[in-house]
Amino acid sequence: MATALSPDETESRLRSHFGRDVVASEEQHGHPVATVTAERYHDVCRFLRDEPELSFDYCDFVSAVDFGPERGFEVVTHLYSNAHHHNVRIKVALPHDQPVCPTISDLYATADWHERETLEMFGIRFEGHPNPVKLLLSEPFEGQPLRKDFALMSREAKPWPGAVEGEDLEDEE
């Protein structure tokens, strides 16, 4: 009978198979979250999909987070198993200038559009993507709007009137 693996069990399987290529792992909201190297990202996803105990057959989303010029980007991939009903998130840390990540669109067809969106919103190139063109933005649009350093024209004229996330924390320090 299919049984869901606990976050620890998923993590230990990843660690025993990929060793030091699993850079970090933690548990968030009851889901295992593993940070892996960009080189092994594709292998990790293939392993998670094909291993019968894991069988993550559904790619929920691929997106990214911009942590600024020092920490760079993090590509976040959420996988789900319809057989076992368990989740996992895979993160890949990338440098801020010229971020390149391998594609997993050959493993999960869903990832195709998600990677195109991540490309236009963050400017992260997915190496090996079959059709790396814009998905949502209009053709003449320039820039990567979800990057932290993207200048919003309206805010140049009138600054954000409300509170800014993280500002209070900085004051306290």
Binding site: L136, L137, S138, F141, G143, P145, F150, L152, S154, R155
Partner: protein, 168 residues
């Protein structure tokens, strides 16, 4: 509308003008350009409870070519803007536009967005703005009455002569 040419001053004659505008203002086929949650309020205004047919607004034109009134209800994005322009251009004159809701008036809560057009009046000329987020159906009824007041006093020859065309 074959009566109205440069050579026929017929609409200048007061009873004719009155009759013409009376007819036009109580027979407004509305084109539903619903883009977001405001569209739900627009549709609610057309249903039995609020029922804008009693004001002579007929829901809904089957296409822009059958429409007199365009209600832009919702968030217009820069990517959608050419489609709005195209629909507007397909509506035969005389035509009217109601901008319904904060998003279509000025961008509303998306005032600083990278993708939202801040005001549909950048794309098409607007006759009546209905504020609200979203406005209640009563607000649209108020907007329609406002538009009908505007049509009542309109000189159609002047309207056409003024080169009334969309801002491009």
């Amino acid at each position: 509308m074959g009566l109205i040419t440069e050579k026929t001053p017929l609409p200048k004659i007061q009873p004719v003008k009155f009759l013409l505008n009376w007819g036009r203002r109580y027979s407004l086929w509305v084109m539903n350009f619903g883009l977001a949650c405001c569209a739900i309020e627009l549709i609610a205004t057309s249903t039995s409870k609020h029922d804008f047919i009693r004001l002579g607004v007929i829901p809904f034109a089957h296409g822009p070519r059958q429409a007199d009134l365009l209600v832009v209800a919702g968030t217009l994005t820069d990517k959608m803007a050419p489609a709005l322009k195209r629909v507007y251009d397909q509506i035969p004159d005389p035509k009217y536009v109601i901008s319904f809701g904060s998003c279509s008036n000025c961008g509303g809560p998306y005032w600083d967005s990278y993708s939202v057009t801040k005001g549909v009046d950048q794309v098409v000329p607007v006759d009546v703005y209905v504020p609200g987020c979203p406005p209640r159906p009563q607000a649209l009824l108020g907007g329609i009455v406002k538009l009908q007041e505007k049509i009542k006093d309109e000189d159609i020859q002047e309207k056409w002569a003024s080169g009334h065309s969309a801002v491009s």
